[in-house]
């Protein structure tokens, strides 16, 4: 055992079991959560990415720094990946409305759903509104009936029960208070190329 003041030395993992040949232990992976960010006041929330976390609350905590430590942000929310319902995907100007299966299943108490549309392949899903429905599929139909997509071609649609989302509370909006000042986290602001060029110029005889 090496003793060092450097914490990194003491933290190296042990590999293998003395005197034994054993199968490699599978990785202990946490579940995934979808992260939605509102870049500016009045703008719709957009899908920003995914975090690993042990539960919804920690997903919120970890999403905050993973996806909103740069640029601007006014609000954030997260939902467990399996709670996002995904429509079939279309291409070539065909809207999801044309391929969405008819509503099936029993009637029940209507719940609130959030809808997110993909306006273009390779882009992010963007929040288009809230509807009341009993099932995700029905929520998608309602979205089209209410023209929440504004007549645009929808290539893919997500539906999420509002109650499955961990939202930012009004008091938590202050989390991003000092973010606009943290320009040092922006690679462009750091001007690494200029610094390197100046350094090389200085080295020249």
């Amino acid at each position: 055992m090496v003793h060092s003041l450097d914490p990194r030395v003491g933290r190296l993992p042990t590999i293998g079991t003395p005197g034994m040949v054993v199968p490699k232990v599978p990785l202990d992976q946490l579940g995934t959560f979808e992260v939605f960010v509102q870049p500016k006041e009045g703008k719709p929330f957009q899908h920003e990415g995914i975090v690993h976390a042990p539960d919804l609350e920690l997903a919120y905590v970890l999403a905050k720094e993973t996806f909103t430590r740069r640029f601007t942000c006014t609000s954030l929310y997260v939902v467990e990946t399996r709670h996002v319902y995904v429509s079939p995907t279309t291409e070539g100007g065909v809207s999801v409305a044309a391929v969405l299966p008819a509503i099936t299943g029993p009637d029940g108490e209507p719940l609130s759903f959030e809808l997110f549309m993909l306006p273009k392949r390779g882009k992010q899903h963007v929040h288009i509104g809230t509807v009341m429905a009993t099932l995700p599929q029905e929520a998608m139909h309602r979205g089209f009936q209410q023209n929440l997509h504004g007549g645009k071609t929808v290539y893919n649609l997500w539906a999420v029960r509002t109650t499955d989302i961990r939202f930012t509370t009004p008091e938590e909006k202050e989390l991003w208070l000092t973010l606009p000042e943290k320009k040092f986290r922006d690679a462009a602001e750091y001007k690494g190329g200029d610094k390197l060029k100046a350094f090389l110029e200085k080295q020249r005889p």
Binding site: L5, P7, R11, L58, L62, E65, E174, L175, L177, T178
Partner: protein, 251 residues
């Protein structure tokens, strides 16, 4: 306003934040999972940023510029509590330290939003969002791991028992305690410690963790007067390495 009293307050806060910010940044690239690595590194950066803002206030009060103050003093001239300089061990240790320190730090800043020295009150209002995140992060992890598995509970409990005497050292009274209170600058370490204990208790209550009986613990003090553990000087040597080679270096 008693300038010496406010300077003493600013120095200990700034030094706490700079030293713990540096310590916590040692986890960058080595956190237990990517997302946590990023979060912990960001909070470390926040702490260093807050220390800079406090050193700038000190500069306005006639002290040397922030870089000189941060990089050229020896261990004996630092006023941080010893808890902030202790080396990292396993992650549970750093997480419990983060919880104990940041709870106190957030409450201190909150008290300072009513400070009679306006620049400090304004700074306290400005950083409140960062502090909200730091305590949300700490509390959420402590609640989660404090009731998760036998291993997570025993690891946190062990770190809690080990760190408690050092945490109490955060509230070492200032020689200017009476002046700070009389001038409406700060309500004092005793009030802060009381609020801190109540906050810690309420987070730990729903977990399987036991708060050690603070009455039976001798606080580890001395840090505020420059009496430190052997761990501070190596940290300062590493932190000031580039500055000592080239004081004008930008990186």
């Amino acid at each position: 306003m008693n300038n010496e009293a406010i300077k003493e307050l600013l120095y200990k806060m700034a030094d706490d934040l700079l030293i713990l910010g540096h310590r916590n940044s040692e986890w960058t690239g080595m956190g237990p999972l990517l997302e946590e690595d990023i979060a912990f590194s960001s909070m470390a950066q926040d702490k260093v940023g807050q220390s800079l803002a406090l050193y700038q206030l000190l500069h306005q009060l006639g002290e040397q510029d922030p870089d000189t103050v941060a990089f050229t003093r020896n261990a004996g001239q630092f006023h941080n509590a010893i808890i902030t300089e202790l080396p990292n061990a396993e992650y549970d240790f750093s997480l419990v330290r983060h919880f104990l320190f940041d709870t106190a730090d957030a409450l201190r800043w909150q008290m300072l939003t009513r400070c009679a020295y306006t620049p400090l009150a304004q700074l306290a209002a400005k950083v409140r969002g960062e502090l909200r995140y730091h305590t949300l992060h700490a509390n959420t992890w402590i609640k989660k791991l404090g009731s998760a598995t036998d291993e997570s509970v025993s690891r946190l409990q062990h770190s809690l028992d080990e760190l408690m005497p050092y945490a109490l050292g955060l509230f070492e009274p200032s020689p200017y305690e009476a002046d700070l209170i009389a001038d409406g600058l700060f309500q004092g370490e005793a009030v802060l410690q009381q609020r801190w204990l109540a906050a810690i208790e309420s987070v730990l209550a729903p977990t399987h963790l036991q708060l050690p009986d603070v009455v039976l613990i001798a606080p580890v003090v001395g840090g505020r007067q420059g009496q430190h553990s052997p761990h501070l000087q190596p940290l300062l040597d590493e932190m000031s390495e580039v500055f000592k080679i080239d004081p004008a270096a930008e990186w």
